[in-house]
């Protein structure tokens, strides 16, 4: 029984349940000051009330809307610029130094600049999210394009395919595994930047909600917000992986065959 548990994936779930139990206990026994450490059960009740009243879903909806708009702008531009940089040496030489300077700047550092130019509304947050999502996709797309098998390019050429068609029909699908890797990193980044930008300047959204709850000493609400983010982050990743497995079905089998 115990041996079976040790070898199954269930053991991870058991750990989470154990930690939540410990949390409950530590709060009930007063090991940690209860004011900033409410019981898990109490947080869950509050969370459920906030969901039922529609408050959390509303905040989440405005957050997710901003996140996805920014994310898809960033991904779109990242793929486009990555393809161009990979395909044309001149564009690479032109843009590579600039991306290497901009990329290492941690996203929160340019929030003040973004506020100066775009204010504190959605534009600023969408810009921030797009900007941060852009780089992982750009870099991965670029390396994908660089590693396209020359035989595939030559094959397309013998069928009279060149230029934009070649990019679309061969380079893009061949780079798609790398592009998906970049997109998955960017998704996590987008979630982070969404919360940060909402904590800095916003009047709604889940980041704002968490910070406002903390400032108003509504500690259970604060934790409920954090729980929500955990659920959202986890779900987004699962959805992404399912989508990836579908789109890249060929790639999985192909790489397995190459290895054997």
């Amino acid at each position: 029984m115990l041996r079976q548990l040790l070898h199954s994936r269930l053991i991870g779930i058991v750990l989470i349940a154990g930690l939540l139990g410990l949390w409950e206990l530590s709060s009930a026994k007063g090991w940690v000051p209860a004011l900033s450490w409410p019981r898990v059960s109490a947080i869950t009740v509050t969370w459920w009330e906030l969901v039922k009243s529609g408050e959390l879903p509303t905040e989440l909806a405005s957050s997710l809307w901003r996140m996805f708009v920014g994310y898809f702008i960033g991904v779109g531009l990242g793929v486009l610029v990555g393809l161009l940089m990979g395909a044309f040496r001149t564009i690479y030489n032109l843009l590579e130094p600039l991306t290497e300077i901009l990329r290492p700047i941690p996203s929160p550092a340019y929030v003040p600049i973004a506020i100066l130019f775009l204010g504190i509304d959605d534009e600023m947050k969408i810009f921030m999210i797009a900007f941060a999502s852009f780089f992982p996709v750009l870099l991965n797309t670029y390396s994908g394009v660089r590693s396209v098998d020359p035989v595939q390019i030559q094959t397309a050429r013998t069928f009279g395919v060149s230029g934009r068609r070649l990019l679309w029909q061969v380079v893009l699908p061949s780079s798609s595994p790398n592009i998906f890797t970049g997109m998955r990193i960017s998704l996590a980044v987008a979630l982070i930047v969404m919360v940060i930008s909402e904590m800095v300047a916003a009047s709604n959204g889940i980041g704002y909600f968490i910070l406002a709850a903390q400032r108003g000493f509504q500690i259970r609400e604060m934790f409920a917000g954090v729980f929500t983010l955990a659920i959202v982050g986890y779900s987004l990743n699962r959805i992404f992986l399912a989508l990836e497995a579908r789109v890249l079905r060929w790639h999985h089998g192909y790489t397995q065959q190459q290895r054997s």
Binding site: Q154, R157, F159, G160, S174, W250, H251, G253, Y254, Q257
Partner: protein
């Protein structure tokens, strides 16, 4: 005199590397008649594949030219399709068998979607891959994959098929099957085939002419018309005195170039 169908004129290819300039092709001349099956053989490293890629318009030559019906080839012409040695890399792994065979057709503006579909099916049957339409190439055996590549090339109805050691990576029996397939398709579609191989027996068996290259900087060492009856037979053709005579001449040329230096090294032709 009439213009030759396909003509290779004074073709030279030089590479500039860290060790200076190397001449791969040192002035190649030969002609290919319409409807003929010409094999190019030569010692390894003599630039056979490079020559074929230049003929295809995939690689530029240093000097000299390739003329297809009198017109210089600079970009890959639509009437000429190149079949790659590395079929596992040449087939698009994200496309199914069907999708791969349709690839060339989808890039011909003159064809509608339903024409593409029906011609794709026709060529799937032609190479006997019915039932595998929805498989991905990597789910198939090597011989089947090469049949997909051949069908993909033929579906475009080219006049010329350029084949670069297409059977070098499959086992002997599969190879015989593919040789028969190519001979059948050559007759059926009245193709002109230029076929690169390192196997002189394969070259003689398949061809109407064999061109043997010397070591680099290579030139044409032997240009041999193969006068053997059609249809050919895997067993009896290979036993004809004339077949053995051709074999003798070609092997003597190749062995001379390989500079055999010991008894252990007596099998330069794999």
């Amino acid at each position: 005199m009439a213009t030759p169908f396909l003509e290779v004129v004074n073709l030279r290819k030089e590479y500039v590397g860290p060790e200076g300039r190397t001449v791969a092709l040192g002035g190649i001349n030969f002609e290919v008649e319409r409807g003929s099956f010409v094999s190019i053989v030569g010692p390894s490293g003599c630039g056979k594949s490079t020559l074929l890629q230049i003929i295809a318009g995939l690689v530029p030559s240093t000097s000299g030219e390739v003329l297809l019906q009198g017109h210089p080839v600079r970009e890959p012409p639509l009437s000429m399709i190149y079949v790659f040695q590395q079929y596992t890399r040449s087939l698009f792994p994200w496309r199914t068998v069907e999708g791969n065979i349709a690839y060339g057709l989808q890039n011909r503006e003159s064809l509608s979607g339903s024409e593409v579909a029906s011609r794709t099916n026709e060529f799937i049957s032609l190479v006997r891959l019915d039932g595998f339409e929805r498989h991905f190439p990597w789910q198939l055996s090597g011989g089947m994959q090469q049949r997909v590549a051949i069908a993909r090339a033929l579906a475009c109805r080219p006049d010329v098929l350029l084949m670069d050691e297409p059977f070098s990576a499959v086992d002997a029996l599969t190879r015989v099957g593919l040789q028969e397939l190519v001979l059948r398709l050559w007759r059926e579609f009245k193709l002109t085939i230029v076929f690169v191989t390192h196997d002189t027996d394969e070259a003689i068996y398949l061809s109407t002419r064999v061109v043997a290259l010397s070591i680099a900087p290579s030139t044409v060492a032997i240009d041999l018309a193969i006068d053997l009856p059609h249809p050919r037979d895997q067993i009896s053709t290979r036993e004809l005195p004339r077949y053995l005579e051709y074999r003798h001449r070609l092997l003597a040329q190749l062995f001379k170039d390989e500079k055999l230096d010991s008894a252990q090294n007596s099998l330069p032709i794999q």
